[in-house]
């Protein structure tokens, strides 16, 4: 079927720009040479007798941004596209994730998205991967020429950023070996706002360079939840964080107490009812099912147009990177659409002491009260805006000692008692701890302990 289409007619838009030079094309763009066919073969991933290389592009996420990205890339001429997503489809996705229908609820996003695009756009080959990004190893990521992410979490972006930064190799002169550098285009949206950035790992600012722009979410103080609630949110979180463990409302078939699952409608309803009762007790108005759901699931509003705008931007950048037909974004663009339309483009600087891309293991000094427990120390590092560890491993450098590891379970169980011991059990003023975190692949951070003077 697809072979009956005249490629030159179909891709008239794309090929016109590949065939013709112009004043805004990138330096070195030479469409008049025989290499213009090489470029078309590359973009279209067409096998040919010249052995021209084929472009392979990876889309991370098949949600709001992902669906748009797959459409945009397919209609830009890309043919060999992979998409990875660990989620299944939920009814609330359907207001913007247009590759899915009501009958698809419960099915894997990556697979449904691939199926739809493959059937709508003749000749495109979208390969789905229904798994976590951590489930794939380096050799998987190395096969791609560009990676575009439409992820919904800071931590996931951090992870893929650290993988791509880690893939870059340098030669003996310290120069980056071009084939090992995979451009990383990252898009994000929230309500009427969005942003897109281009990362050339180890060459330009990476995602980690801007990590302190996303401080960890502050939660409510326990004393407020327990004693002086004022807002509906306080009542809702009281139900989820304080009453659940006390009342143990759901027990599964094995007799085990179920943890709160916010996608389980019965769990949600229980939390809502407890929250409502508490609100009534304190004369607080505003607890509804909708607000309860929003608070416990940390729901971020999302609409089709913002996703369309940001995805189109990212796909266009991918097109320009691959074809040289025009200059690329350098390197960060923000968009807001709630009060009129506003965009801002600027160049983000590479951070010299970036944890991921500085190329050097960073040593950070932190003041610690040696009487606090290891668990408290770890919690502080989780809240630290630059570190924001998720589940760190702690090792002492000198004398060497494995202090704590969250995985594997056997090690964790063995080392768990250390969490309650005071820091003085492992370190003194000047001790260096080497820490790694599963969300930052190949990155180790050295924390130099500075003992807090208890009298200060």
């Amino acid at each position: 079927m697809a072979s009956q289409l005249d490629e030159n007619k179909r891709w008239k838009g794309v090929f016109t720009l590949l065939n013709r030079n112009g004043p805004f094309a990138q330096e070195g763009f030479t469409p008049d040479s025989k290499d213009s066919q090489k470029l078309k073969n590359y973009l279209r991933a067409l096998e040919n007798d010249r052995g021209d290389p084929n472009c392979k592009i990876l889309v991370i996420g098949a949600g709001g941004l992902g669906c748009e990205l797959l459409k945009d890339l397919a209609l830009s001429g890309f043919r060999d596209i992979h998409v990875i997503d660990m989620d299944t489809i939920d009814i609330s996705n359907l207001n913007r994730q247009f590759l899915f229908r009501k009958t698809d609820v419960g099915k894997p996003k990556a697979e449904c998205a691939a199926r739809f695009i493959n059937s709508r756009v003749p000749g495109v080959n979208v390969t789905p991967h229904f798994c976590k990004i951590q489930d794939k190893d380096d050799s998987f990521y190395q096969q791609f020429n560009i990676v575009i992410s439409g992820l919904d979490s800071i931590m996931a972006r951090r992870y893929i950023n650290s993988v791509l930064v880690g893939l870059v190799s340098k030669d003996d002169d310290g120069d980056i070996i071009p084939d090992t550098l995979i451009p990383f285009i990252d898009g994000g949206t929230e309500g009427f706002k969005g942003q897109a950035r281009i990362v050339l790992p180890q060459l330009t600012a990476c995602f980690e360079c801007a990590m302190d722009l996303f401080p960890p979410r502050t939660s409510f103080q326990i004393c407020t939840l327990a004693n002086t609630p004022r807002l509906p949110e306080h009542c809702i979180e009281y139900a989820r964080l304080l009453r659940w463990d006390k009342d143990k409302p759901f027990v599964n078939a094995k007799g085990e107490v179920e943890k709160p699952d916010m996608d389980n409608i019965d769990h949600l309803r229980w939390i809502y009812e407890i929250a409502l009762k508490r609100a009534e007790e304190f004369d607080i108005k505003g607890v509804t099912m909708l607000s309860a759901k929003g608070v416990v699931k940390n729901i971020i509003p999302a609409i089709a147009s913002t996703n369309a705008i940001v995805a189109a931007l990212c796909a266009n950048e991918a097109f320009k990177i691959v074809t040289y037909t025009a200059d690329t974004l350098n390197n960060y663009m923000m968009y807001t659409g709630d009060q009129g339309l506003y965009t801002l483009t600027f160049e983000k600087d590479k951070k010299e002491d970036c944890l991921a891309c500085s190329g050097v293991e960073q040593v950070l000094t932190r003041e610690v009260d040696l009487k606090q427990t290891l668990n408290e120390f770890i919690d502080d590092l989780k809240a630290d805006p630059i570190l924001q560890f998720s589940a760190p491993s702690v090792n002492r450098t000198e004398p060497p000692m494995t202090i704590y590891m969250p995985k594997p379970p056997s090690m964790e169980a063995k080392l768990r008692p250390n969490l309650d011991k005071p820091m003085s059990a492992f370190c003194e003023d000047g001790t260096q701890l080497t820490m790694t975190d599963p969300m930052m692949k190949g990155v180790a951070v050295i924390i130099r302990i500075k003992a807090k003077d208890p009298l200060a």
Partner: protein
């Protein structure tokens, strides 16, 4: 968050959850009551419509005379290979409708240029019209018709790497602009009676100073109370100072009073010091955008209102004039360190005041409704309540028509845009393309043989446009020009009129 669940079916609440949190049930109702017309089912046009179908626009009608071609398959998502040769209006409306079973969609397989020439009045049935790839000869008459009928028009196109979007709306009346950081409305510098009474009953002194609150309650006195009493004392002790602290010395004095009874570690007194910056020092005044609305001719007591918005504006203007230049209180209180009882009491006080204020405005609304010979209640209570709660976010935007844009160009904006290196040159380039098309009935550079010859024609058009759109430099006496105009014109020719999907998708509403 209004009780969306009461107003919408469970199916809709589940599916539309993520968008309802942005625009609520009344926003959704506005969408569902709209009938949008799309002219030309191009890549850009269908992408814009997609972003309206997904959230649940009520109805759409696509008008397009073209047949699906192979070229469409390369940039338009809403056609498929078996559809080649069929009406593009019909195919795209099928594939768009298929995305949302609650949306009604029809098509008219006719060239929009014909319809504009022969049946212009048929456009009066639409709530809004989206026009893509319309030549100037059709755009002008369409725009004039819609403008005089108060129907918004959105013009969009994607031309190579350049995208274009133009709203043409005679009057866009907004109650809820939804600013990022909405200012809480605490009225501390001009407190209303019930607030003053409540705040006056507190003794801020610590127990050790003779006060009656234990340390827990003392450290949970709401900062509203602290600031209220501090301001009174500040004014009493300093009759020569500005009534609202303005100079550094006055602010310092005020903070001294605020923190006087703090133990030094109290969160609530800290919050009071911070809150002074937004609730004391600026004092009380109405936002400029709101003042513009209230001073508009259409808000005057004698004007005949053209919509519910203006009836409410008339009512609000009277309210403001009679209540001493204040607007209805918002009725909500930001979270702050406080014990539950005092927080709930304060919330209730602001809430009750807002109910009183809204009732007054409602009274005026009914008066102006009657004056305008409208049925009583045609402006609903709910609408008035919403407008009152967001009164400090009101704004009216007026856009010029295309005719005005072309006949009396905004030379200031264009010259500035060119001078600071922004998108001015692209505007001129796109106008040149439109002119070229009007003359030659094709796009510049459409085929290889035309590329060279078209450049000369485009340069000539460009020169004429510069003379129309830019002024003569006062000092040198020379016509202002667009630097590097030829560069952007060359890019227009390079493009040859092609539409890239991504640029079209980026022009999404």
């Amino acid at each position: 968050m209004e009780d969306v669940e009461k107003k919408l079916s469970k199916d809709k609440v589940d599916k539309y959850d993520r968008q309802l949190r942005l625009w609520g049930a009344h926003g959704q109702a506005a969408l569902e009551n709209a009938h949008i017309c799309l002219l030309n089912a191009t890549a850009t046009g269908t992408e814009i419509l997609k972003n309206l179908v997904l959230p649940g626009i009520g109805r759409f009608t696509i008008i397009d005379g073209a047949k699906v071609s192979e070229e469409d398959l390369g940039n338009n998502f809403f056609v498929s290979q078996p559809d080649i040769g069929r009406s593009r209006a019909e195919v795209t409306s099928e594939l768009l409708r298929e995305m949302n079973e609650w949306v009604q969609g029809t098509h008219i397989a006719q060239d929009p240029n014909e319809l504009i020439a022969n049946q212009l009045s048929s456009f009066s049935q639409y709530t809004l019209v989206i026009a893509t790839n319309l030549p100037t000869s059709s755009l002008l008459p369409l725009s004039e018709f819609l403008y005089s009928n108060h129907i918004p028009l959105v013009v969009s196109r994607a031309y190579g790497f350049v995208g274009y979007l133009r709203n043409v709306v005679p009057e866009h009346c907004i109650f809820e602009t939804k600013p990022d950081n909405p200012l809480d409305d605490l009225r501390l510098t001009n407190p209303f009676p019930s607030l003053a009474t409540y705040c006056g009953t507190w003794d801020l002194r610590q127990k050790s100073e003779g006060g009656n609150l234990d340390s827990h309650l003392h450290s949970h006195i709401p900062y509203i109370v602290i600031l209220y009493q501090s301001l009174i004392e500040y004014r009493k002790n300093n009759p020569t100072f500005n009534p609202t602290p303005k100079t550094e010395a006055e602010k310092a004095e005020f903070i001294k009073i605020v923190t006087r009874h703090s133990t030094g570690e109290d969160k609530n007194f800290e919050e009071a010091t911070d809150a002074a910056r937004t609730h004391i020092y600026p004092g009380y005044r109405l936002p400029d955008d709101l003042t513009d609305v209230l001073n508009d001719d259409k808000a005057s007591a004698s004007s005949t209102p053209t919509s519910n918005y203006w009836i409410i504006a008339q009512a609000m203007k009277q309210y403001v004039d009679e209540e001493g230049k204040t607007v209805p209180v918002k009725g909500s209180v930001p979270d702050m360190t406080a014990d539950t009882n005092s927080y709930v009491s304060l919330t209730e006080i602001y809430y009750q005041k807002s109910r009183q204020d809204i009732a007054k405005v409602l009274g005026y609304v009914r008066k102006y409704e009657k004056q305008a010979n409208r049925a009583e209640g045609s402006v609903t209570d709910e609408e008035v309540e919403r407008a009152c709660k967001s009164v400090r976010d009101w704004k009216v935007v007026r856009y010029r028509s295309i005719k005005e844009e072309y006949e009396t160009p905004d030379k200031d904006s264009l010259e500035m845009s060119v001078d600071v290196g922004e998108n001015g040159p692209w505007y001129v380039a796109l106008r040149a393309v439109d002119r070229f098309y009007e003359k030659e009935k094709r796009y510049p550079g459409d085929v290889e043989e035309n590329v060279e010859g078209d450049l000369a024609k485009m340069v000539e058009i460009g020169k004429a446009l510069e003379e129309e759109l830019l002024r003569v430099d006062e000092e040198s006496g020379e016509q202002k020009r667009v630097p590097d105009l030829e560069k952007v014109l060359r890019e227009m020719i390079r493009v040859g009129g092609v539409e890239l999907h991504n640029i079209g998708a980026h022009c999404a509403l």
